[in-house]
Symmetry: C2
Amino acid sequence: MKTLWWAGDALALIDQTRLPAEQTVVECRTYQEVGRAIKMMIVRGAPAIGVTAAYGLAIAARQSAATETGSLIADLRQSAAELRTTRPTAVNLAWALERLLGLAEAQHDVAAVREVLLAEAHHMAEEDEEANRRMGRFGADLVKDGDSILTHCNAGGLATVAYGTALGVVRAAHEQGKRVHVFVDETRPFLQGARLTAWELQQEGIPYTLITDSMAGHFLKSQVNLVVVGADRIAANGDVANKIGTYGVAVLAKENGVPFYVAAPLSTVDMKLTSGAEIPIEQRNPEEVASFAGVRTAPVGARAAHPAFDVTPARYVTAIVTEVGVLRPPYAGSLAGAFASQGSERRSG
Amino acid sequence: MKTLWWAGDALALIDQTRLPAEQTVVECRTYQEVGRAIKMMIVRGAPAIGVTAAYGLAIAARQSAATETGSLIADLRQSAAELRTTRPTAVNLAWALERLLGLAEAQHDVAAVREVLLAEAHHMAEEDEEANRRMGRFGADLVKDGDSILTHCNAGGLATVAYGTALGVVRAAHEQGKRVHVFVDETRPFLQGARLTAWELQQEGIPYTLITDSMAGHFLKSQVNLVVVGADRIAANGDVANKIGTYGVAVLAKENGVPFYVAAPLSTVDMKLTSGAEIPIEQRNPEEVASFAGVRTAPVGARAAHPAFDVTPARYVTAIVTEVGVLRPPYAGSLAGAFASQGSERRSG
């Protein structure tokens, strides 16, 4: 099962706001619908929204009435700007749009632009799943038989096209026959852990225990011996932006001598940023904090805050698992080396 | 407004499971109803359930058909045993029951037992509020004008007869004219922060921001400069059992150089326990983690865990604010000194 796929004339997305109660599919026929799906978190997870945005721009190219490349590129720039604002923290979104815009500019006629963008979106979808499987194999070497693994949010198949990043590591260890038990942070306010990670693990037959985010410390002190999470953006020094609450888990892991791993493709690394302080943190609607599963919890008029991400300084990160291998501190060197080994310089400009 | 009061022939409790949406009162006419109210968390908070249990035993004395003290004491022992099992972590409950049983045994006729137990329950209710006001004044000295204060769970008026322990400190600082801003952890799974602490602060006109538990680290890193929480049991070495999630807040406070204060009356200190490892941790129904307000969040069949408390080692506790003063490490000495200064040896046996 995939999180998103091309349905001939539309982008199909599993509606993640309705899982696990309902399994429904949303079809997006315009780039505006794609942007709305990203903003409403019908699709979420840094790698998944990167590929979704790529399809969004491919759809924008088909929507445009332009008959010559200059005006088509202008239309695409406008559509890309709109798509880019939907979620500011995950860099995969901007990365995917830049990659497609670069390809569009290299074409000589409008038909080629339209064809190449859709082909590239397909290619990125395949590349994402392949990267996750490689990441899973590298990461599984860090997992021992009998490990208790804690994860925060959902960095699973649903956060990617398929297989997952952090959950890809768990999945690969499970496929190798290692017995693992996963502690799943429910991940307020959107409950991606309770709704999505628990659902994926249950389907996979991997044993897990759902906990509230506030229980992570208790179990890190007593039972958990490995943490693995995903990432929304990694700065050149190894600072990691990920779902709000990740920083707390990282500090508690370090305090208890538990290794803290981040699993993310190189498309999540933003070599233009020297540290996490430069990563923009999305502020979402505070009303999402004052209610729970559609039921209002706080008094009427309550003031709430809703930063959707936090930044974990690199000193708490034991290693970063990527599709080219497991990177260790100091990250300035290992991240640069990873890009060099990939033979890609697309993130260095 | 009080959390609980004697209504002539019954114990009246504000139903805390329905706040803030509804303000309703539950009246308990039997000790079994009192026990159920504690277990169902209609009343909660260590000091409040201590006083509630005292009224429960006073009611049990009135329920008993015994006509001589021997059989009345036997009935009271049975009732106390039932009340004691309702919530195992907060020591105030056992402390209150022991105090009343001791008084009952010193009486010479059944009428005196019945009279003395009710009078003592009234006395404990008054004592609780007075202790909180003293604690508030001592604690307010730790608060500076302009402080941003984080708290977890509800250690407010609703966790006590009135005024609160941790929120009592905030309230006293506010009454002194210090401008404070409170960051309120929502406190999953029961949401005592979102439902009760936010409600109390709003009524008091104290500015606050509601956050998910997972945001505490983010705000401790950036804005909060003081933490104050309550306690359910404190061991003789200063280890503190409090609502699940407190340990995580304490570690994050220390990591960010933010002082972490515990406000609790001496009735919360259990000098019989040498360390927090001996404190029994209540395990509640895991279904409470997999759903909220009748809305299921996790997939059907999800396995969850629900430890209701965690233990914060004394090394993370900057000071303990009590009704006899602010205690500093090493706590073995300062706690013993506090009991000596109180002229009470009731916890030392």
